[in-house]
Symmetry: C2
Subunit: 231 residues, 2 copies
DNA sequence: CGCGGCTTTGATGTTCATCAAGTAAAGTGG
DNA sequence: CCACTTTACTTGATGAACATCAAAGCCGCG
């Protein structure tokens, strides 16, 4: 973790389009006054469940996992998120403490604004508030939808689903490097590590995919889609 | 379903405290201009998945279920909600069409405002917008949390959990009338109808609960709590 | 009064978690 | 840099939890 002296102000930020199009230059300057940028290495913890929320965190670059410790000791991954669907927002306005933990899966750049100043901007700029509402709703909705979708499938369907998700939604490539371990895959799609491995092997033997450690190649996307849908 | 000629304006609404404390009288009058109140009988459909969203719906009285048709034919109940945690909000701002269906479980009174005028108010009143953000976040958060919590438990734990939830959170009474069928209970806590019935019977035989059709009496709350927690 | 949906119980089957045991890989300290 | 330890990965065998199937009674409703 490395705190970076912010270069330039929010006003000139090329990434503000992700969320901040409705803000005035004056507001951007105001937020910029309390701004920090923090760089997290792969594997570093960004947020710990139970910590008080004093910042409005915003993911500018990278890939993170949002997870929670279940009663049964086991971690459950709620979501894997990129900048556009940064999910810390769900906690930020619903509680005084973070409900989830967040860890960087790849090198990630987080922009940290002061929560109170953010609230001030919201109060003064309804147009921005409306955008934020839509943003939060979409993120929540995605989490809810995908959770139910995954739970509805058999194990083979879950593996197919998540492989296609990485391939199509995250890496836009038939060949990609899994950013998570087999164990974490299990925590994400609700199955044991052993079964993740077993079914990956089956898919390999059936010629659906190619495996080299964390590098996965999708060989038969059509059939994977079918398996993903058939439950 | 019965459309009621609204009596009085939003301004004098005794229930506005649920959400609208941050609105000015002028804004309330404005919204009131396009207001409808609709009364739904038990069992009537309030929202159908896929319908375009043109209103901002708000539950004033009653109990509803929010659900979705899974790929596997079976319905899944996402949430059962009362006025304070009305969940239509999740869809309202994340899409142009409703993502879920909503049906009344008890006689329910819904206030229907024009979505566009609501957006106008949000844009002009950031204070209200901030409240709405918090409201939506809390609702989403509850759905997400409880979904993962329930999935983490064994079948007996799920039944115990949901019985206690009805008893403590909804009806505030050891004896209550289930507002849903056994089948719907299964759809809510993700198990088959048969197993819902089986485990309810077990609990009855073990003296944990008393059953008379849809009327449930909790006899041993402590033990139920333990079963709910132990997975 | 008969039909369809809800409820109930029992018997059967299958999916999946758990347990066990071994190999490979990756981090840790002297 | 190498011994050491830990964590990740892999495969097979076993068992338990749960879904599915089947059959019958019940209730509400047209």
């Amino acid at each position: 973790m490395k705190i970076i002296q912010p270069t330039g102000s929010c006003k000139s930020c090329t990434l503000k389009s992700l969320l901040f199009t409705k803000m005035t230059d004056k507001e951007l300057e105001y937020l910029n006054g309390f701004r920090k940028e923090i760089l997290f290495e792969k594997g570093e913890s960004i947020i710990k469940e139970g910590t008080p929320i004093n910042e409005f965190l915003y993911l500018k670059k990278g890939l993170v996992k949002l997870y929670k410790f279940g009663a049964s000791q086991r971690e459950r991954i709620i979501s894997i998120a990129r900048p556009r669907d940064f999910v810390s927002l769900i906690s930020t306005f619903s509680s005084t403490k973070y409900q989830y933990s967040i860890t960087a899966l790849e090198e990630s750049l987080v922009c940290s604004l002061q929560l109170e100043s953010m609230k001030t901007v919201i109060r003064n700029n309804g147009g921005f508030a409306l955008e934020l509402i839509q943003h939060i709703s979409r993120s929540s909705n995605n989490v809810i939808q995908s959770t139910f979708e995954i739970d509805d499938k058999h194990l083979r369907g879950r593996i197919a689903y998540i492989l296609l998700w990485f391939s199509k939604k995250i890496y836009h490539n038939n060949i990609f490097t899994l950013p998570i371990s087999r164990k974490e895959m299990g925590e994400l799609i609700n199955m044991t590590t052993e079964n993740v491995i077993r079914i990956l092997s089956e898919f390999r033997k059936d010629g659906l995919i190619k495996i080299d450690g964390k590098v996965i190649g999708v060989l038969n996307q059509d059939l994977l889609e079918k398996i993903s849908k058939s439950g």
